[in-house]
């Protein structure tokens, strides 16, 4: 089938994101990334959650599944284990992934399931009209935190590092070239990859705006960060304030979950015949 191009990855679906939404940049970066890789369109599988981010599914013309809120990871795992020739990408929201679906993340990470998780981290629940997300910065005001979010935010990168994720990165929608590089690296990484993306919710988040990030982000690679050093990664992941690092925090090569399954050594499950031979011997045990 077609090799993806930025054009042929377009769908005819009307885009319903707000004008000014950071999702547009993210979409652009994703399409550009896929267009640079040699994988044919039908070999991609995109799973999205429920939220504004979930609509991404409608705008990228690859195989796609718009799942339920918070469950991209297990659904993607099922797809990947069934047909590991597919490149499986999850687009999740911060409410979606870090609230409802948080329990799946450390497990997908430690198992090193070979799927890519791109989180649209806009620090609000966009589609449900702006409630506070778990990544919202302490003090953030919304209709569900009138006096400001009372608790420190959830820190996805730290959670991922604590869960032995083999690829941990952060990008933002204000630097698409950089974001594209991270997306590409994530896709090319053999194993689980978390790419948390600062995605500006133009409508509801009046604090973490483009300007907010532009004033603060710096690139790890510009400061000689060694992404093979877990210790450095952890230290960098703590940084928050006037300077916020983006880039590849950590990457490690270790066996993926599939490597533990001899059934999948030769070919993908989907390529194998359904009805197994020799089942009779199972019944012998009961005779």
């Amino acid at each position: 089938m077609q090799k993806p191009t930025v054009e042929n990855l377009d769908t005819l679906e009307p885009n319903t994101w707000c004008k000014g939404c950071g999702n547009f940049g993210l979409l652009r970066a994703l399409k550009a990334t896929l267009a640079e890789l040699e994988v044919p369109k039908e070999q991609y599988f995109l799973v999205t959650g429920i939220g504004c981010h979930g609509k991404l599914y409608n705008y990228v013309d690859v195989n796609g599944f718009h799942g339920i809120h918070g469950r991209t990871l297990p659904l993607a795992t099922g797809v990947k284990l069934t047909n590991h020739e597919l490149t499986v990408i999850c687009a999740a929201g911060d409410g979606d992934q870090y609230d409802e679906g948080l329990g799946h993340l450390p497990h997908a990470a430690r198992r090193n399931i070979d799927i890519k998780l791109f989180t649209h981290d806009n620090k609000v629940y966009g589609l449900t009209t702006g409630q506070t997300a778990p990544t919202a910065i302490q003090g953030y005001r919304s209709k569900t935190t009138l006096h400001g979010a009372p608790s420190p935010r959830l820190e996805p990168l730290k959670i991922a590092l604590a869960s032995n994720a083999s690829f941990v990165a952060r990008g933002w929608v204000g630097d698409l070239e950089h974001l594209k590089g991270l997306m590409k690296a994530a896709i090319q990484h053999r194993g689980f990859a978390l790419l948390d993306i600062f995605q500006v919710c133009f409508t509801f988040n009046r604090e973490q705006t483009f300007q907010f990030y532009r004033d603060r982000v710096y690139k790890l690679e510009d400061e000689g960060h060694d992404s093979s050093d877990l210790h450095q990664a952890w230290t960098r992941a703590q940084e928050w304030g006037d300077r916020i690092p983006i880039g590849l925090f950590y990457q490690e090569n270790r066996p993926i979950y599939r490597d533990s399954l001899p059934q999948l050594k030769k070919e993908a499950l989907i390529k194998q015949p359904l009805a197994p031979k020799g089942l009779e011997k199972l019944l012998k045990e009961f005779m």
């Binding site: 089938m1 769908t11 679906e13 319903t16 044919p40 369109k41 039908e42 070999q43 599988f45 799973v47 429920i50 609509k55 599914y57 409608n58 013309d61 690859v62 195989n63 796609g64 599944f65 718009h66 799942g67 339920i68 469950r71 990871l73 297990p74 659904l75 993607a76 795992t77 099922g78 797809v79 990947k80 284990l81 069934t82 047909n83 020739e85 597919l86 329990g103 799946h104 497990h107 399954l261 001899p262 059934q263 999948l264 499950l269 989907i270 194998q272 015949p273 359904l274 009805a275 197994p276 020799g278 089942l279 009779e280 199972l282 019944l283 009961f286 005779m287």
Partner: protein
Amino acid sequence: MQQDEISLLVGGEAGQGINAAGFLLAKSFFRGGLHVFGSIDYPSLIRGGHNFYTLRAAGYPVYSHWDTINLVIALDALTMKRHHKHVSKDGGYIYDSDRIPADHHDIPTDKKFLCPIPLKTLQKEIGGTPVIRNVIALGATLAVLDYDVTILEVILRENFQRKGDKVVEMNHRAVRAGYDYAKKNFSNEFTYQIKAISKTKQNRILIPGSEAIAVGAMAAGCKFYSAYPMTPSSGVLHFFFAQGEQFGIVTHQPESEIAAINMVIGAAHAGTRAMTGTSGGGFCLMTEAFSMAGMTETPLVVMLGQRTGPSTGLPTYTGQSDLLFAIHASHGEFPRILLAPGDVQESFDLTIDAFNLAEQFQLPVIILTDKHLLESHYTNDTFKLDNVPIDRGKLLPMTPYKGEKPYLRHRYTDDGISPRLIPGTPNALVHTDSAVHKESGFQGDHCEIAERQANKRYQKMPTLMKTLSKRDTVKIHGPHDAKTSIVSWGSPKGAILEALRILHKEHQSINFTQILYIEPFPVSEVEKAFQGKRLILVENNQTGQLGSLIQQYTDYKINYRILRYDGRPFDPGDLTDRIREALK
């Protein structure tokens, strides 16, 4: 005295290997050509407490255990005490006299056959470890029953072969120690003796429902099983882990039931046959994704193994209280299929059908069963593995797509079923969506689309009903022209068949209507079965849930309800009494 039939109970603490001992005994009778039914009763703990295995063996088919016991094999004192009231008048006990002093077992000695075996002493004599005591007891049991002890020896050899000759030898010695001790001390005294019918292996199996379902699933081509452990569904998971790999099946223990079902939906959508299994609370957690399977028209097979509820309930006991929940589970409306096997043959057959129906109609299918069926040992002809029907419905091959362009996953068709493509197939893309979507699978936030796609999904019903009408959705056991019909579903089948046997001997005009395909409800088949009959409902629950469906779908009234909801399966004896009461 030779008997046609015998009912035994092996009891002791959890951790004493009661299930294993009971099963060895069951297998001994089974291998001797007898029909056997064995059932295990255990509380939710790992060591201590009270476990017991009840088994019946006979020269003719047996469908259920029986609460009335002829011989108790007691590995602790509690066993003797607890089951005393169920021991038949001419029944007896084999017990560990090293553990249970004669003045301690509370059994009126004049009435019963008592066979004290000093298990510890004998164990020490033969130089074994404590685990061998059960085997000694089994040897004694066969002696008392005058049953061919070499059958047990063969079984033990098969079992322990891979552990080496020494282990086999020790087991052999243990059997003999028990056997000889009993022969010497209690020979020919016991009323109940039973003979092997045949010693050549036959094409029969002694199998629990779990394994029947697992083998059925494998035969149907299930290549992906993901489940979170939960009694009584774990048996299937363990079997998949133990046996799946060699057949190229991927088995996975995920972090939760929510993960399990979402994975399985992913796997099924990606084109393989996939299944999950769980019990009540786990199924609750699956309901959200279950609805997604309905919406995305993903072929999904869920085994729901019921146990005593509500909530954590009695985790290791049985029940049938999730029928209406399963039928109505999840928000929104979408067609589904619910199958309820009543024995191991049906477990095997219906599991295969579940996979076929799921793919033919692209919808979720529930196999509804329970602890009693999943964990009891049934005697059955071996399952036919050749020519297992595999019908994948409108699934397209993975060769480059040449059909109508563009490929539309949710295309409108006459029968509501769209051609299904496996993602990764060249020249086409597959899109699907848990939200209302267009034919293309892309989101369609329009009311008109919502209605049309809803109609599309229900448009499958006529074809589905036609297909199901060719299945044995309802089985009638006994004379079709009986005056009364017992109505039930699922695992009570065994006890009901036993009761029927007795009632027929008493010349009662009664039969048994078993409903196997419960959703969609086979209205006309049920009405045909009920015509002109008095109806006695038998269910292992508190509110008579099948009865509610009958009320809803038919004009027939249930005349009498026999319900049991204490976690235990029906006992044929007690059930017969209650049916007699109903027949008055």
